[in-house]
Homo-oligomer: 371 residues x 2
């Protein structure tokens, strides 16, 4: 039998728009298609480049919306045709990752899959690879495994994982049992979490045997599992796939994998976490984007955009420039300015989470042209 | 002899760019060519419309730069050709107004001129006309006359005029002798000015007999006067004008009329002021523009721009939109956002005076394309 890592398959769900990053992120230019670090790579491409050395570029599957197919394939020229899974409409992460698991398990029984968001930022590839290797080993021993990021500050924008002691697993020395997942805390709670040393950031990475993942889904959501298996059964038969997708996919329950798999598995003692020390951020809003691009110096003005022409006088925050216009800031602190050809956002870091509400308001007021 | 008002000629110096209103105001689109109140008229046109009922449209002279000739004539189709005085380069207000005075005095000895900036905002035309009528009468009696605006608050953005008691002039009941002109005060001083009742805002309006104005200029700046008279001598001779302008104009001293005329005349007891109660603002910066367009309610967001698409959530200040882009503000207070096709400014009311420094910085850094 091949080693666990040889049986590893990476799955990249590339779905969410990233509404909190409007007007940078749009329905037709979602967050994962942007370079948010000035690296020259989109987040999707950077995710691929991080996973290819682990899984091999023939063993990475991308689950994305039909509308993004061309952009995804353009970003990932080495992505194999049979590894592009297109959703006719979004059905949340249980359906997306579960379908990938079902397809891969049918193709290759015993496969170990790891699901990694297309729109997170990670620095420290060596540490990432080491953590995935441990997670794959723990997964091979039957656990649903996540990688938890060692907190460096009392962040309130992330969910946390409470760990419950080491497990002594073969090839996964640092893996710990998960006690529970907890939602984004307030600042005092976050400080307690940090001080206790028992909590890790939930980076939404899930590694497990495909069959184990499907089994967990089936325990909570048997109808969802049945639909996924039905889809997988015909997926690789071009003639049969279409009608089944049209019939089954729209009826699948929309539920995040956190609720269908991670929390129940943790409660049942089947969830492990590998603590990791690489830099990670889900870049959930412009405050986080500002921090990411200013080296953590709050007094700095981060500037993002290839042809940015920014003239700033005693200002801090972030400017995202997509237009090449001259942008002048005078005496504005913690400001967020996002300059795109058809929409402009001006807010502050403190209000960054409220950007989503603008997107909702634009929808309601019929200004869909800029969504 | 015709009545003083029949001998009145209005002069509109249309010169300054209004750098503190960049990027709205530009070298090729100076402040006076903008509609800053949402009235549908440019400030220049509104100035014309205010003066035409007083002087008649054949008795309004505009002094402007060669580059603005077409725009000025487009705005003022009734402006007579011989009343367009073009400056080959800016030489400040003594030269501009002095040249108009010299030309008009030559054409029509005994003419009374009134100089009114092209880029101020005035509301209350009836009160304005009444004040001008009194000023013209006072001017006919030999005084250099200004119209002083009754302060409504301790403004620190304007210069003040200290009055020294009523004069009992015929046809100018409320005219008072000017004690002195004072520069923009700090807030405490402004409060004292307001409380004393002796101070008026200096709106930069000067009404006097043309010969009296030229005489004042000659007392302080004899070389300047000599140059102006030399220009006026040939002005209406198309063949002779060009060479004299080329030789004389570039050498004229650059000095504001406040220093060549108003202050010395006040010191000598030859300066009168007619207090007036109309609304007046020189719209010196975006803080003033915000106030002007929000009805004075500080909590409001003023929006300027014909096709503005602004979506604001708990924000105050001003948005100037020239692009038709969606502009979204979230939780920004006293903000100034000026959105033009090639330049964007983001600052706050408190920093409005610093906008000029950006223009200077753009010059230095060679970004003249957006000036």
């Amino acid at each position: 039998m091949r080693s666990p890592l040889e049986r590893f398959y990476a799955v990249i769900p590339a779905g969410g728009i990233g509404s909190r990053l409007w007007p940078l992120s749009r329905a037709d230019a979602p967050k994962f298609l942007h370079d948010l670090t000035g690296s020259g790579s989109t987040l999707l491409r950077a995710t691929w480049d991080r996973l290819a050395p682990i899984a091999g570029d023939q063993r990475i599957m991308v689950v994305t919306g039909r509308a993004h197919r061309a952009a995804v394939e353009q970003q990932l020229p080495d992505l194999a045709d049979l590894n592009v899974v297109l959703e006719s409409e979004p059905r949340d992460s249980s359906a997306a990752i579960g379908l990938a698991a079902a397809i891969l398990e049918k193709r290759e029984p015993g496969v170990i899959i790891g699901s990694f968001a297309a729109d997170h930022v990670i620095r420290g590839d060596r540490l990432f690879r080491a953590a995935v290797a441990q997670a794959v080993n723990a997964a091979d021993q039957g656990y649903i495994v996540t990688i938890g990021i060692q907190p460096t500050e009392p962040a309130i924008g992330f969910g946390y994982i409470r760990s419950a002691g080491e497990m002594g697993l073969d090839g996964a020395d640092s893996a710990m049992l998960v006690d529970s997942f907890v939602e984004k805390p307030d600042l005092d709670t976050a400080k307690q979490y940090l001080a206790s040393g028992d909590y890790l950031w939930n980076a939404g990475m899930f590694i497990s045997r495909a069959d184990a993942l499907l089994e967990e889904i089936g325990k909570q959501e048997p109808a969802l599992l049945a639909g996924l298996l039905e889809l997988a059964e015909v997926w690789d038969d071009p003639a049969a796939r279409g009608p089944v997708v049209d019939r089954v996919w729209p009826g699948l329950k929309k539920i995040a994998i956190d609720y269908s798999v991670a929390e129940p598995a943790a409660e049942a003692g089947r969830m492990a976490v590998v603590p990791a020390h690489f830099d990670w951020d889900d870049v959930g809003d412009f405050a986080s984007l500002a921090k990411l691009n200013s080296g953590g110096r709050k007094s700095d003005l981060a500037i993002l955009g290839e042809n940015a022409r920014v003239l700033a006088d005693s200002s801090s925050g972030i400017v995202v420039s997509q237009t090449g216009r001259v942008i002048s800031l005078i005496g504005v602190q913690d400001i967020v300015v996002v300059d795109t050809p058809d929409a402009l956002l001006v807010t502050t870091s403190a209000n960054a989470q409220r950007v989503k509400s603008v997107v909702d308001a634009l929808k309601i007021s019929g200004r869909d042209d800029v969504l």
